[in-house]
Symmetry: C2
DNA sequence: TATTGTTATACTCTATAACTATA
DNA sequence: TATAGTTATAGAGTATAACAATA
């Protein structure tokens, strides 16, 4: 069977939003940690890149600067992230997780992954294998290079 | 190689948001058709289920009724969708695409798919195959069944 | 002047609660 | 009373434009 790029694109365009909505709904359901997907991704990035600037985070999460500024505002207000002046370049901002931020991140990561794992567990192992391969193939195409640095070698099960 | 559900879940949790953000950004870039992802999915659903009620659409897109009501408002205001009283049960609403809605949908579908296809085209064909298989495996896990249950045996085109 | 970030403003997305109209 | 939708309200996500501070 031959698969054209167009066919693959259509499949992705149909299925990815479905999965995404499910992930969001599950995160919302978990009022305890109460993180949106962009918030989660921001914490996750800061976990790997402690001390990053606002621009760094915005670039890697894929938000415009003002959007990221607001998002960080809310994380700072909730004491999940610290925002300090950069020593040396006072235009810059230095962002890092608080202990509480790290705990929220871990909690959200664990519960969302567990939820997804529950879904995925109903698949035969061959299909799970295919899913993993597909994700690894797609990652570098969609901003993954930026995050490849970020996530290479991470143990998700921790 | 053995793939646990947890590993697969972690991959999905990392990669799907990346792909999603890219899809959204591309749709936003196309000011011509100017459809958000939920708007696009709503039009797409109505294309396949002309005459559906608000509840049908909300259930299948995964929105609460008021959210869908507002979303449909905007589509009606833009003359992409018609909203009429259901003959027989006047509480119900009957939704359908206008010619213009169908055109917008096709335009958005084509340009987004073309964009994605461009990305995916850089993959070797074996990887594209894997992507398609993965999407087909994931679809029924994430809301894909709902459509089947809801609409099985019902003639929505009437 | 260029860079970093914030404020102002304006959408869309999304939920819950309260309401209306119909059955 | 139960169902289908809408309105009211609120908060998050997101963008662009205008601004301030620093380099």
């Amino acid at each position: 069977m031959r698969v054209t790029p167009e066919q693959a694109a259509c499949e992705v365009l149909e299925v990815v939003p479905l999965v995404m909505r499910d992930i969001r709904a599950e995160m919302r359901r978990h009022r305890s940690c109460d993180l949106s997907v962009p918030q989660f991704r921001t914490l996750s990035f800061l976990d790997q890149h402690s001390g990053a600037s606002l621009s760094d985070v915005a670039e890697n999460i894929g938000l415009a600067l003002p959007s990221m500024s607001k998002l960080v505002d809310s994380l700072v207000a909730r004491k999940l992230v610290t925002r300090e002046m950069h020593a040396g370049d006072r235009r810059r901002v230095t962002l890092a997780l608080t202990a509480r931020g790290r705990a929220s991140l871990e909690s959200a990561r664990a519960s969302t992954a567990a939820y997804l794992a529950g879904r995925v567990a109903t698949l035969p192992e061959a299909d799970r294998m295919v899913v993993v391969q597909a994700m690894q193939a797609l990652r570098p195409l969609f901003g993954g290079e930026r995050e490849m640095l970020t996530y290479a070698g991470r143990d998700c099960t921790r």
